[in-house]
Every structure is written in C-alpha cells, then in structure tokens.
C-alpha cells in the first residue's frame, strides 16, 4: 500500500459488474434480433417452399391458375430496374461526391448543396414516386416504363450514394494527396490513382446498401404505375436486329416496356384472399431475399478482391 492509495476509491467490483451487465445487454439485443430474423425466415420458407422450384422462376403470374404462377416478369423486372438504376446512380453519385469533396470550393453555396443532399436522403420515397410520375412519366413521356422506374429509383438512392461516397473519400488521409501532388500529379491523377482506390471499399458499402434499398422499395414504383399483371419481360416482345445498331435499338425498346418488380408482385399476391396466393407471396419473398443475398455476396467478394489487389 502506497500513500497515494488513500486518494483513490477504485470500486472495482462495481465497475466489473457494470461492464458485465453491458456485455450481457449487447449479447441479448444481438441475439434477439437474430432470433426474430430466424423466425421470419423460417415462416417465409415454411409457407413458400412447396411452390418454390426452378419453374417458379420461369413462369408468369396468373390469376386463373395460381398454382401455375411464377415470378418471371417480376424477377426480370427487378434485374432490369436494378441494372439501370446502378448504371445511372453509381456514376452520378460517385461523380458528385468526388466533385464536392475534391474539386468544389468550400463556400456557402457548396455547404447549401451538402445540406440539401443530407435532407434529400430523409425524404419519404413516395415523394420521389410523385416526382417520377410528374417528370419522367408525364413530362418526359417515358410512360410507365422500366426507364421511368429506374430514373425515379436513381433519384431516390442518389443522396445515400453521395453521402456514403463523400464519407469514404473524406476518410482518405490528406497525406496521400500531398504525396501525389508533390510528385507532380494532376488532381485527376491523384483522384484516379490514389483517392478513389483507397475510398473504393467504403463507396462500395454505400452502393450495396442503396442497391438493397432500391430493390426493396415499392411505394415510388406503385406511384409511377409499375403494373402487376405483366406477362412478358422487358425486351421480351421485341426482336433484336443483327449487329450493334440492332442491339441498341432493342435496348431502347426494352427500357420503354412496362414492368413489374418482385416487391410489387409479392404485395399484390399478399392482398388476395385465397391461401394459395399467400404461398405465392412467401415464395416470392424467398426469391427476393435470394437475389438480394447474391447481389450483396457479389459486392462483398468484389470488395475483398479490391482490397487484396491494392499493392
């Protein structure tokens, strides 16, 4: 015992108890969430498994013979919607983030833009649906097409993509930029070779989250009128002429096709009275979750590959 011991009252037992309690609370909360998720997944699987088959993926929905219904149009609608949304939102979002973080001057105007982006991330999705209806469906006359849906969805996820990308870019240490500039690099060379590769994992995380959100969103698509009983996939009714020009022409037709996506199909089935439709809905949920899992898994693999490739 030294003289200074009298100055401290460690209360070690009490502190250890608080630490254990907090640990237990964390385990309990995490465990609770996992259990709830497990129960949900089990219920869905239990209800939907009897209708699940490879044919389920390759059949169109049907009101008359629900036991022969499938998610082909919805699955392909989702693939088209997500593909187009990614093609629009990722370059725009990452580009805006790079501009705001690396190029834009820090003044009142850019601060206003940043504040607005943060606010837009919190706007309810139905509002984006209304915007899409007014701008893309009516004003630009894209009709109720997969193009209108993708553009609406892009607007919806853009704020999230921009914010996540900005955070990732801001986290790149300034010493890296200085090192590049001191070697006579231009700003673009610095961004292209050092800032973006270092920020890529963070950007990818934001992109994955927003893509998952776009895949699950229903309200804005209902607003712009993604129909439910669609017995074809986008581009399925057009013939592509040979050659690149033919393919481009087919693509232009395809993105103007009406479409349905998995969440809307599921919602529609769940609304019906007969039990068979509820099973269809459950099977549709399993498909949606699987698609989401595949997409996220691919992104995780890509991110790991990116990080390993760095040297």
């Amino acid at each position: 015992m030294s003289a200074s011991d009298a100055l401290f009252e460690p209360r070690k037992q009490r502190r250890a108890l608080v630490a254990r309690l907090f640990h237990a609370a964390c385990v309990l909360i995490t465990g609770g969430a996992v259990v709830v998720l497990g129960v949900l997944l089990y219920r869905v699987w239990h209800d939907g498994s009897e209708l699940l088959s490879l044919e389920f993926l390759d059949r169109f929905p049907s009101q008359i013979t629900p036991e022969k219904a499938g998610v082909k149009s919805a699955l392909w609608g989702t693939v088209w919607l997500i593909g187009l949304t990614a093609a629009v939102a990722i370059p725009t979002g990452v580009g805006a983030a790079v501009y705001l973080q690396e190029y834009a001057p820090r003044n009142a105007f850019t601060r206003l833009i940043q504040l607005n982006i943060a606010n837009l991330a919190g706007v309810p999705s139905i509002v984006y649906g209304l915007l899409g209806l007014a701008v893309f469906v009516r004003w630009l006359r894209f009709d109720r097409s997969v193009l209108s849906g993708s553009l609406t969805m892009s607007l919806l996820i853009l704020p999230v993509v921009i914010i996540a990308s900005r955070e990732a870019i801001a986290a790149v240490p300034n010493s890296i930029r200085e090192a590049a500039f001191a070697l006579g690099a231009t700003r673009w060379q610095t961004v292209r070779h050092h800032v973006l590769p270092a920020a890529a994992p963070g950007i990818l995380t934001g992109v994955i989250l927003s893509m998952a959100r776009a895949m699950g969103e229903t309200a804005p698509l209902i607003m712009i009128g993604a129909l439910t009983y669609i017995r074809f996939v986008p581009g399925g009714t057009h013939e592509a002429a040979p050659g690149l020009a033919g393919w481009v022409g087919w693509f232009g037709e395809a993105i103007r096709d009406p479409f349905v996506v998995l969440p809307i199909q599921i919602f529609n089935w769940a609304e019906q009275a007969q039990p068979i439709f509820h099973k269809l809905a459950a099977a549709g949920i399993v498909v949606l979750l699987t698609v989401m899992l595949i997409l996220n898994g691919a992104a995780v693999v890509l991110r790991a590959f990116w990080q390993r490739k760095q040297p």
Partner: protein
C-alpha cells in the same frame, strides 16, 4: 508564436539541452561557395490576415544542405511548402514577394506547378507511402510524368540512392505499408529521387522516427548533397548542426539570421539566435 502545453519544458531540461548542444556541434568548416538555385526575395505568406512568413529573403546554394530552424509556428514549414507551391491548396492564402527557381518566378502564371514539383521534390514529416507496392511507390511519379527510360532500372537506382535497395530488393511487389517507419521514409525519399529532381525539400523528415532510423536518414542526406540541393526544416538543432552546410534561423515569421552552419552555431551575430541555439527559449 504559439506554444502548446507539450512544448513547455521545465528549466532543468533546457539547461541539459544547451549543454548537449554545445557538446555535439564541433565547429564546421565553412562550405565552398556554390551558385544559388532558389532565390527567395522578400517573401511574405499570409493566412487570411495572419502573417506566417514575413519578408524573408534567402539564397539556397546548389548541392548544399540548408537547414531552417526555429521554434514551432515560426513559419519554417510554410516557407518550405511555398517553394514547391504545396501551399496553393490552402484556401485564403496570400503571397507577396517572389521565389525564383533557376531565375524563374515560380508564381509566374505560365509556370505550371506540375513542372516545378518535378524539379523540386518533397519529403514530408510523417512517412506517407502510397498503400501500394514498393515498386509502384517509386515508379508512379515517373510513370505519370511520362518517363521514357526503363522504369525497372529507375526504381532500382532510386532505391539504391535512398540506401533502401538491399533491404527491399526481394520484396518490391509487397505493400510499402509493411515497411518500418524509417524504411518508409527512405522509400519516400526514393520516390522523390526517381523524378530526377534538382532540389529536395524535407519537412522535419525525422520527427516521427527513432534515433537509429534518424541517424540513417541523416547519413543519407549527407550523401544526397553530392547530387541534390537539400532544404531541411527541423526543430532539432543537433540535427541541423550535424547535417547542414547553411543554417537559417526563423522566429515569428522572420528570418533572423542565416549563415554557414559552423558560424551560426559557434558565433551567431544576433542575440536571439544565440538564445535559441543555447536553449534559452524555444
């Protein structure tokens, strides 16, 4: 001058410091005169209204080591970073006066800072290798500047000049981040050398390193001056005394005194310089 709590040392340490200083620095011969490469002409640098560098004029001699010493916040880093225009990125910075590199005003609108930085390399306070392979760290600067020779040979030469080749020649494709701090700093020197610069600016290059790594960098600086002009900012007076040919003492943005290192350390003309060197303040 800004003083943070960390820098306030008890008087005892100061006495010990001054004893050590006078012990380590033996009178150095005055170096042979060489032409001036960089000429700083009444340069003032302002951050908004704060004057960080105040009407500083100095000539940097070719193939010599010039040390800039002074207490924290005296403007020595600001001055150094003005020489290769690294301060351009700071919003609200203002310049008066001129810096001439080989007779040409570096702030001349026709002078691309990219050309300037190729000729005037920089090594930073904290080693900042790119999170890439050792090879790409050294090769990148040359590659983006359109180097037409053999890149592999260039990397080897630069690493040899930076006294790092023997330690890394078998792991050029490994990440530079796996190297020790001292090795990383020598890699940063190699990276700067690979651009075949004329001048190397070093901003307290040893402040994040242990004494052994510091000694290696100091040896390296001594070798580098055969080929390059080195400007070294340091707050370590012993280091300035050991490696530099000329020493400039700055205080509160002003250049107080500049002379051959041997003379500055043994016979400073200004009282303030003497006080700083003997550890009476700082």
């Amino acid at each position: 001058m800004k003083l943070t709590g960390l820098e306030v040392r008890p008087p005892m340490t100061r006495t010990a410091d001054s004893v050590r200083t006078s012990f380590v620095v033996e009178p150095k011969p005055v170096p042979e005169r060489t032409p001036s490469v960089i000429s700083i002409d009444r340069l003032s640098v302002l951050y908004g209204t704060h004057v960080a560098v105040k009407e500083v004029s100095m000539e940097i001699a070719e193939r010599r080591v010039t040390a800039i010493i002074g207490p924290s916040g005296c403007g020595k880093s600001t001055l150094l970073r003005s020489i290769n225009r690294m301060n351009d990125f700071i919003a609200g910075i203002g310049f008066q006066g001129a810096i001439r590199f080989r007779g040409r005003d570096i702030r001349d609108p026709g002078y691309d800072p990219i050309d300037l930085r190729r000729s005037v390399g920089m090594v930073f306070q904290k080693p900042n290798p790119f999170p890439k392979s050792i090879y790409r760290n050294v090769a990148w600067g040359a590659a983006i500047n359109g180097y037409r020779g053999d890149l592999t040979q260039l990397v080897e030469d630069a690493l040899k000049k930076a006294a790092l080749w023997e330690e890394v020649k078998d792991k050029l494709s490994q990440s530079a981040l796996a190297l020790s701090g001292g090795q990383q700093q020598r890699l940063c020197i190699a990276r700067a050398i690979a651009l075949q610069p004329e001048v190397l600016l070093m901003d307290e290059p040893c402040s994040a390193l242990d004494p052994i790594a510091t000694a290696r960098i100091e040896d390296l600086i001594d070798k580098l001056k055969a080929q390059y002009t080195v400007v070294l900012v340091t707050h370590n007076m012993q280091q300035a005394g050991r490696v530099s040919d000329y020493t400039a003492f700055m205080y509160m943005g002003e250049l107080i005194e500049m002379d051959a290192t041997g003379r500055i350390f043994t016979n400073p003309q200004v009282r303030k310089t003497q006080d700083y060197i003997t550890g009476r303040f700082g």
